[in-house]
């Protein structure tokens, strides 16, 4: 398992997958849809799928002495690793915005979504969507990624738009909590995001393994 992950990181990955982690810092930007930061991280991962296809990575991997499902596992491990690194960076920014930066007027007067635990939970949701729709879609053919990426784009921008709008609806203002306001609700929303991420990823992985077994390379 370690070897296949190292292969993914050193041979199959695009440097942009690592570079685009920096988009996690977008959670600092006031007056900007911060979840786009999570989206750009997934866009960086998407570049690795392009690089891998250019390098005939799937067939190369299939010739290695590993099981076919290990190829799928390697891809998911890499994708999840990048996502976990991104979440750690975003979480650090969120903690700063919930504490020392919480009172800054530039954030207080922000009409868009605030960087809090709900936003962090929604980042998990964005990554879950990517794993379910894009990565799962890719492994239906192990070659075509245009259609799954377009489907993911539609889903992710609906999710981002919805998240940005929700706190303006009556009774949902707590979603835009500052600092430690509504902290229990914030934790529950974060937990929900993590659970959805895990469910989407596991479901996607199982479907991908099944589909990939059937593919002729």
């Amino acid at each position: 398992m370690r070897n296949i992950l190292i292969k993914e990181m050193r041979l199959s990955a695009s440097p942009l997958s690592y570079l685009f982690l920096l988009f996690g810092f977008m959670f600092f930007i006031p007056g900007y849809p911060i979840l786009c930061g999570a989206f750009f991280v997934t866009f960086g991962i998407f570049q690795s799928f392009q690089t891998a296809r250019e390098g005939n990575d799937i067939v190369f991997s299939a010739l290695l002495p590993i099981r076919k499902r290990d190829i799928v596992k390697g891809k998911y491990l890499f994708v999840c690793l990048i996502e976990v690194w991104a979440v750690l960076l975003i979480a650090a920014v969120v903690v700063l915005r919930m504490t020392v930066l919480s009172g800054l007027p530039v954030y207080r007067n922000n009409a868009l979504m605030n960087a809090n635990l709900f936003a962090l939970g929604m980042s998990f949701f964005v990554f879950g969507l990517f794993n379910l729709i894009f990565v799962g879609g890719f492994f239906r053919t192990a070659y075509k990624f245009g259609r799954p990426f377009v489907l993911y784009l539609i889903a992710v921008f609906l999710a981002i738009g919805g998240s940005e709008a929700l706190h303006h609806f009556p009774g949902l203002g707590f979603l835009n909590a500052f600092g430690f306001e509504h902290i229990v609700s914030q934790f529950l929303l974060l937990t929900g995001g993590i659970i959805v991420y895990l469910l989407f990823t596991m479901l996607s992985y199982r479907i991908s393994c099944r589909n990939f077994e059937k593919i002729d390379l």
Binding site: N3, I6, L11, N56, L63
Partner: protein, 240 residues
């Protein structure tokens, strides 16, 4: 001693079919797999490597069915094609450095030896290699993990006559060290030069799978070379 056995293999596509393919590959021999473009050579190779699903039949390496212990078998075989670029922008050194992790049989000394023999610069990328050097790069990887069987898809296609000759000599050296070399080609003179056994495929069906001398005895007319024989047979199939 046969190291690869293929029995009654079938694979059906909408416009092409492999029909009841059976043959074997022997240790320490060079087997030439010949057929025109589209005859089914690559489909056959992908089938025996378990890269595509067959509709019937069996493939075994070293007496082990490939579908049962694929990982174990793949540690003992090597595959090369001159037509595919693996990771075109990565250095050979980096690709080899990753591949070696998957093989407990990897031999750094052998890697260095073949690097020198093939005159490969490990700081180059596959993109910078000529077609012949790409094949040598694949061979380098296969030989460094001590592959006992080499499955080579069109390794000499697209090479100049000098590189082809050089590569065929390498095959002969490998054969002498006990490696089974199986290579597909549509260049009949390559088979004529170095193959011990010939497998001739036409329209997805094996027409003959015999030692070269037996093949010539069975299919050639008096004074006819292998190239003329295959061309005549191919025309015969076309007009059947």
């Amino acid at each position: 001693m046969s190291v690869v056995e293929v029995h009654n293999l079938f694979k059906k596509y909408p416009s092409f079919e492999l029909k009841d393919v059976s043959f074997q590959i022997d240790k320490g021999k060079i087997t030439g797999f010949i057929g025109r473009n589209g005859a089914g050579k690559t489909t056959m190779i992908k089938s025996i490597l378990n890269l595509i699903h067959t509709d019937g039949g069996s493939v075994s390496f070293f007496g082990i069915p490939v579908r049962e212990r694929e990982s174990e078998i793949k540690k003992r075989i090597g595959y090369s094609t001159g037509t595919v670029n693996w990771y075109p922008r990565k250095k050979i050194r980096d690709i080899a450095g990753i591949v070696k992790r998957f093989y407990d049989t990897w031999d750094d000394e052998a890697y260095r030896k073949y690097l020198r023999l093939f005159q490969l610069d490990e700081t180059k990328t596959p993109l910078e290699l000529s077609e012949g050097m790409k094949v040598k790069f694949n061979l380098l990887i296969a030989l460094s993990h001590k592959a006992e069987v080499l499955i080579l898809d069109e390794p000499t296609s697209g090479l100049d006559p000098f590189s082809r000759d050089e590569l065929l000599n390498i095959f002969s050296e490998l054969k002498n060290s006990g490696v089974a070399v199986f290579f597909s080609t549509h260049i009949i003179s390559d088979i004529e030069k170095c193959a011990d056994d010939i497998i001739y495929i036409s329209e997805g069906r094996i027409i003959g799978a015999l030692p070269k001398t037996d093949f010539m005895k069975k299919f050639s007319c008096d004074g006819e070379g292998l190239e003329d024989t295959i061309l005549r047979m191919e025309r015969g199939v076309e007009h059947a």
